[in-house]
């Protein structure tokens, strides 16, 4: 595992920065153009969730190794209100805001591994991994 890169997410231009960095890492990892697009799009969804629903936070991007392969692991963490019902939040089309309600569930489908933990009143953490 190489040292992760932390990017604060405080305004919408930070979402663009997260996307650019994820794309750069994905290219460096040798991911194909489809996988690149998938992980970048997933990162875009989660970074925007961190900003819009979590009230800002940060992303940690790292290259990980396991079972003889390499992957990109992205963690998004905020100290926002948290998610009361994760099961409901993962349903396609459900949004507590005004979005399409596909960000979280879509990001899961775009990743190899997906993990979400949330404590109401403390914040939310989503970790996704895309293996090469």
């Amino acid at each position: 595992m190489t040292g992760g890169e932390t990017i604060p997410i405080r305004e919408s231009s930070d979402v663009i920065r997260v996307r650019a960095e994820v794309r750069r890492l994905a290219i460096g990892l040798g991911l194909g153009v489809v996988d690149q697009t998938k992980i970048v799009t997933a990162a875009s969804e989660l970074a925007r969730n961190t900003l819009v629903y979590g009230g800002g936070g940060h992303a940690v991007l790292e290259v990980v190794e396991g079972k003889g392969r390499r992957g990109l692991r992205l963690s998004f963490e905020d100290h926002g209100p948290g998610i009361l019902d994760i099961g409901q939040a993962m349903i396609d089309g459900y949004s507590s805001g005004r979005g399409l309600g596909l960000g979280l569930s879509g990001a899961k489908r775009l990743s190899s591994e997906f993990e979400i933990t949330s404590v109401v009143g403390e914040g939310t953490r989503v970790v996704i991994t895309r293996w090469n």
């Binding site: 697009t37 998938k38 970048v40 799009t41 875009s44 969804e45 399409l100 596909l102 879509g106």
Partner: protein, 289 residues
Amino acid sequence: MNTPAINALRSLIADDGGTLLDEWLLSLKAAGGAANGRVNENELRTQCRDFLAALQGAFESDAPTDTHTAAYEPVTAILDEMSRSRALQGFSPSETATFVFSLKHPLFARLRRSSKDVEALGDGAWALTEVMDSLGLHVMQVYQTSREQVIKRQQEEISELSTPVVKLWDGIVALPLIGTLDSSRTQIVMENLLQSIVDQEAEIAIIDITGVPTVDTLVAQHLLKTVAAARLMGADCIISGIRPQIAQTMVHLGVELNMVSKASLSDALALALKRTGRMVVPRPIASKS
């Protein structure tokens, strides 16, 4: 701050016969503060001389160690000007800050020579360090602010990049989207499109997203809203330029763009022409023999 230390500061520049300026310039150049000749030699000399004169004035004030007093205004004014112009010329932070920090060496050397005992040297060194560090921080602050202004201006310029709606044929307009679609820019783009649908009496609007690197749910939502609004204005939209990787990603994301889409802008134009009752045919060859 005790009086000996203040007196030590005061005598530092006051006793100078012009050698301090030369020593400073030497130290400045050695540290890369002249940025490999990017700063004009005479200009640099004038800048340094003015700065020393201003600093001497400040040292002779009532509180020479407090750089926030009115006495330091001429000093900080010179630093402001220097930092700002260097930031705009693309100097690195260290090349800029060296202007102040390179003066430390000759000043400390003088202080050591003029101090009678260790205690005086210690006090003087502390007073001088305080002043120089504070001025150095000021330089960095101004440098940073100037850089931020540059970035902000560039951001504004980028967001103002017009997203023109082009007329392809009578009743057919196209909107080639390029770059990132954030909310404020999308709003402008959408208004432009709707206005030109009115102006051009367009029946069909082609939105080409070849130049959009990432289509996430927010971008999809913007597209859906634009298409819905155009439809209310009586125009049908065709989305073109969805690249294979974007198409696959959108399917995984679960986004359904319930609208007509074509792989390329030319396919979309062909469809638009067909829908408006036109066709493009090869010109018949005049004579066959």
